[in-house]
């Protein structure tokens, strides 16, 4: 509770300051614009989304604002920004702009292989396109956090070691006592080590405390080097984890957490970071007197108690068979269910953006729209948690990675006005004049990203339009 509030406050202050600063730049173009012009134009890649309602995630919503990206990072968010001449400008009036979503865990979005993603990522596979269509721009995969970067195998991995998994289960009670012992042992070692550190300054020959028998993983948890992750859903287990965490002073990551709402205060006190599925179903253990079973309010209650809540759909892969709406493509729908159960809208968005980013230790790069973070941005045609909403464009590291009208999957469902299905079937010779059907580039937001040399003369016009509109605002 405390921490999330503080974080939110910091974020609000941060964002607000950005917006206050922005008009100042506009009035005096010297700092921002001057800099950009003196920079090497050929090297800096600028991208700007203008006119959209920007939901920053951690801060407030800015109606009809502009977000400017430089070399894959967010350079500025606000009004009346000076947009460099060579920027790729996308007019997204009437659309909403969101931070790219962060899936805490997924399978298959990065291709078939796993493990060392730098060496195995398949940036051309269609599940990645489906993931981007679902708004996911970063995902936990195995023990790494990886971005859905298309057309390149470079720089996709954001964080390589996410957490250490521990077992704590009433079904296998030995795991509990063993883990408790490990923590006790590691805590003893930490105490002795600190004491030794203090004393060794005077007594140089004092032997270092013995490390044998101390569990290295537990030790790194106590030292804050890695996060401890548990898979637990039973009330008793959750309570046990919460107390263990409070006793040894670490903040557990708990996946599942189905009966979390029954012990939410304890979990909140332990500062738990929760990964839950809002739609999970589980019946109450009738032999227990205490409350149990699942509740649609689980996410809301845990959030209210101060837990960081992130959601994940029932299955982690891209699953095109079976019941629709249960796989990773429905991340937003899952958050929607949590909101339905009482989670505030903003917390619903956070549950699939900044919270999973924090859990994975990558919130300095992704999870919200803030200056300096990665330009991972979604443009949608409505509230991202609404079932009807489609991601229209997804940008990853400042580069358009998904355009609904250009991919096969959803182009025909409520197409954008004036846009047509255009899929390169390989029939037009490369470099030749486009086919009749392809001369649709009148639409400004449809700026050619694949072929940047097409219609360069359009850019200045657009900028003029855009400036006019900004003035109106």
């Amino acid at each position: 509770m405390r921490l999330s509030t503080i974080a939110a406050c910091v974020a609000v202050v941060f964002c607000t300051s950005t917006f206050v600063a922005a008009p100042a730049w506009a009035q005096d173009p010297a700092p921002a614009a001057g800099e950009t012009k003196s920079d090497k134009k050929t090297e800096d890649k600028w991208v700007a989304l203008t006119g959209g309602d920007i939901y920053t995630g951690t801060g407030e919503m800015l109606r009809g604002a502009t977000i400017l990206g430089k070399n894959g990072k967010i350079e500025a968010i606000g009004y009346d920004l000076e947009i460099p001449k060579d920027a790729k400008v996308h007019k997204v009036d009437g659309m909403r702009v969101y931070p790219g979503l962060v899936a805490i865990s997924s399978q298959g979005l990065l291709g078939n292989a796993g493990g060392e993603f730098d060496d195995t990522i398949d940036p051309f596979n269609s599940r990645m396109v489906l993931g981007l269509a679902a708004g996911i721009t970063t995902t936990g995969a195995g023990s790494a956090a990886v971005k859905l970067k298309r057309f390149t195998v470079d720089g996709a991995v954001v964080n390589e070691r996410l957490y250490s998994v521990f077992s704590w289960s009433g079904r296998n009670p030995r795991t509990k006592s063993e883990l408790r012992e490990k923590f006790a042992e590691a805590a003893r070692y930490v105490r002795e080590f600190r004491e030794w550190e203090r004393k060794v300054k005077e007594q140089k020959d004092l032997p270092e405390p013995k490390k044998s028998g101390v569990d290295g993983t537990v030790l790194s948890v106590l030292r804050g080097e890695t996060l401890a992750k548990f898979n637990a859903s039973d009330r008793d287990d959750l309570l046990g984890i919460a107390r263990l965490a409070q006793e040894y002073g670490f903040r557990p990551v708990i996946e599942g957490c189905q009966e979390g709402w029954t012990v939410a205060d304890e979990l909140g006190r332990a500062g738990a970071r929760v990964i839950l599925t809002a739609r999970d179903r589980r019946s109450k253990d009738e032999q227990q007197v205490a409350a149990g079973g699942t509740s649609i309010e689980n996410a809301a209650i845990l959030h209210k108690s101060g837990c960081m809540v992130s959601v994940t759909p029932p299955t982690e892969g891209v699953d095109l068979g079976g019941l629709e709406g249960r796989d990773i493509r429905m991340l937003t729908i899952e958050a929607g269910f949590a909101v339905r159960g009482g989670l505030p809208d903003k917390a619903g968005l956070e549950a699939i953006t900044i919270v999973p980013a924090r859990i994975m230790g990558i919130s300095h790069r992704v999870g919200s729209l803030e200056v300096g973070k990665d330009f991972d941005v979604l443009v949608t045609d409505g509230d991202i948690l609404h079932y009807k909403t489609y991601v229209q464009w997804a940008f990853v590291d400042g580069r358009m990675a998904y355009d609904k009208e250009k991919e096969l999957f959803y182009a025909h469902i409520r197409p954008r006005p004036q846009a047509e299905l255009k899929v390169d079937a390989g029939e037009t010779p490369r470099g030749d004049a486009p086919k009749e059907g392809e001369t649709k580039e009148e639409k400004p937001e449809d700026k050619k990203d694949d072929k940047p040399d097409d219609k360069p003369e359009e850019k200045p016009e657009e900028k003029k339009d855009e400036k006019k509109e900004d003035k109106k605002d």
């Binding site: 060496d119 398949d122 195998v153 490369r430």
Partner: protein, 434 residues
């Protein structure tokens, strides 16, 4: 080797006034010759002597006494070259890094498949080493012969390098260049020592000499070492596994890198980094191949040059693919050609029926847009380039081996059939009576 004849041929040779044994001359007059290198020649006359092509031209007069095979209804093309085959080989390879393995060691001339592919117009075969790693060196053979020596066209042809989107594949490439760097260092040290020992009078050359020192030609042919070096410096021996890499680095040997997907290509480029060596690509076309993403750098703003930008030679099946998730046909061989890559065709599968259907399969790709001259080149000269035997086979040209395929019409016409096949100046298939 010259006794190797099909029974049909034996009967027919008698019908020709003189069978073309080695040392004899024969003229062939056909309606049309698609030479690959010299364009299309109508009313072509080809003079064959000692198994080699001596003269090619339009309506050339033939000296009296030289037997003439006159077939104005035929079209002649160069013998086909399948540069990527395992026919007749049955070893199994592993995931090793063993570029020193020679496929010629498992060559078994008695394999029945060789006799059969000849009848389908295949007069040169490139046999590659089995295995998933860097599995060894291919061998170029003529598919007839009683002994390995008779079959051998070029031993130590391309080095087969399997590339996938995984760490071991990438590590094999980067490790190879690490080893090369280590060797370079070793040579530089040896050079330094040599110069120090020898500072008696000879001039001290530094950088250029150093570079010369890795010249694989010297490692490969010891007798040349002294010829090239006047100061007698002998570079230290390279490991057997390293030697092929040293040769590939300077282009004395080529690698053949097998890839399946666009991601494989990017990972290969990533593993290669700034290093370079001479290589061609073997692109394994699947029905839903996504290789069209990496044809050029521009279209999808890749970090690296595309296959077409680099003008790479690509060994592919004559296969029409579809855009993933759709039924939209793509002609990837044609797209490769348009992007600037050099296309090399191999049969769809390494089976005898697919060798038989090779020409019609390529015809399908031609029908879908690939220019027929490119397609023919892809079955002949470009394939010979992959094997490093383009100086001997792959086109109808003066001085080349008389490997010819006679067709009853234009090569990619569905009605055309192979009428006869000539290998080293000798008819090995077909009804050749005047």
């Amino acid at each position: 080797m010259k006794k190797m004849k099909l029974h049909t041929t034996i009967a027919l040779v008698a019908a020709i006034s003189a069978p073309t044994f080695a040392g004899e001359t024969m003229a062939i007059r056909v309606g049309r010759a698609e030479t690959v290198t010299k364009g299309v020649i109508e009313h072509a006359v080809i003079l064959v002597e000692d198994g080699k092509i001596v003269v090619v031209g339009e309506d050339l007069p033939v000296e009296r006494g030289i037997p003439v095979l006159d077939r104005p209804e035929w079209t002649v093309v160069p013998g086909f070259v399948n540069c990527y085959s395992r026919l007749g080989c049955d070893s199994e390879g592993g995931d090793d890094n063993s570029p020193d393995v020679m496929t010629s060691d498992e060559l078994w001339p008695k394999a029945a498949a060789y006799k059969e592919v000849v009848t389908y117009g295949v007069t040169t075969l490139g046999l590659y080493p089995a295995g998933n790693g860097i599995s060894g060196q291919a061998v170029a053979v003529r598919p007839l012969g009683d002994t390995v020596e008779e079959m051998l066209l070029k031993d130590g042809s391309y080095v087969k390098i399997a590339m996938r989107s995984d760490s071991p594949s990438k590590r094999r490439i980067s490790d190879a260049f690490k080893k090369i760097a280590e060797y370079d260092e070793k040579v530089a040290k040896a050079r330094e020592k040599f110069d120090k020992d020898k500072k008696g009078g000879s001039k001290k050359e530094e950088k250029p000499e150093e570079k010369k020192a890795f010249d694989p030609a010297q490692d490969a042919k010891p007798e040349e070492k002294d010829a090239k070096k006047d100061d007698g410096f002998v570079p230290p021996d390279a490991d057997a596994k390293l030697r092929p890499w040293l040769e590939m680095r300077v282009g004395a040997k080529r690698g053949l890198v097998t890839l399946g997907t666009a991601a494989d290509y990017l990972h290969f480029m990533d593993a290669l980094g700034t290093n370079e060596f001479a290589y061609d690509l073997r692109l394994v076309l699947q029905r839903e191949s996504d290789l069209w993403y990496v044809l050029d750098k521009k279209t999808y703003e890749l970090d690296v040059d595309g296959i077409g930008d680099k003008k790479l030679r690509c060994v592919v099946e004559p296969l029409l693919t579809v855009t993933q998730g759709t039924m939209r046909t793509r002609n990837l061989p044609h797209e490769l050609h348009r992007a600037g890559a050099k296309v090399v065709f191999i049969p769809r599968n390494d089976s005898l029926p697919d060798h038989k259907a090779w020409l019609p399969h390529v015809g399908e790709v031609v029908n879908a847009g690939l220019p027929s001259d490119v397609a023919l080149r892809a079955m002949t000269l470009e394939a010979a380039e992959v094997l490093g035997v383009a100086d001997r086979v792959g086109s109808i040209e003066k001085g080349k081996d008389a490997n010819l395929v006679f067709l009853t019409g234009s090569p990619f016409e569905a009605t055309s059939k192979i009428a006869a096949v000539m290998l080293d100046g000798e008819f090995v298939h077909g009804e050749v009576n005047q």
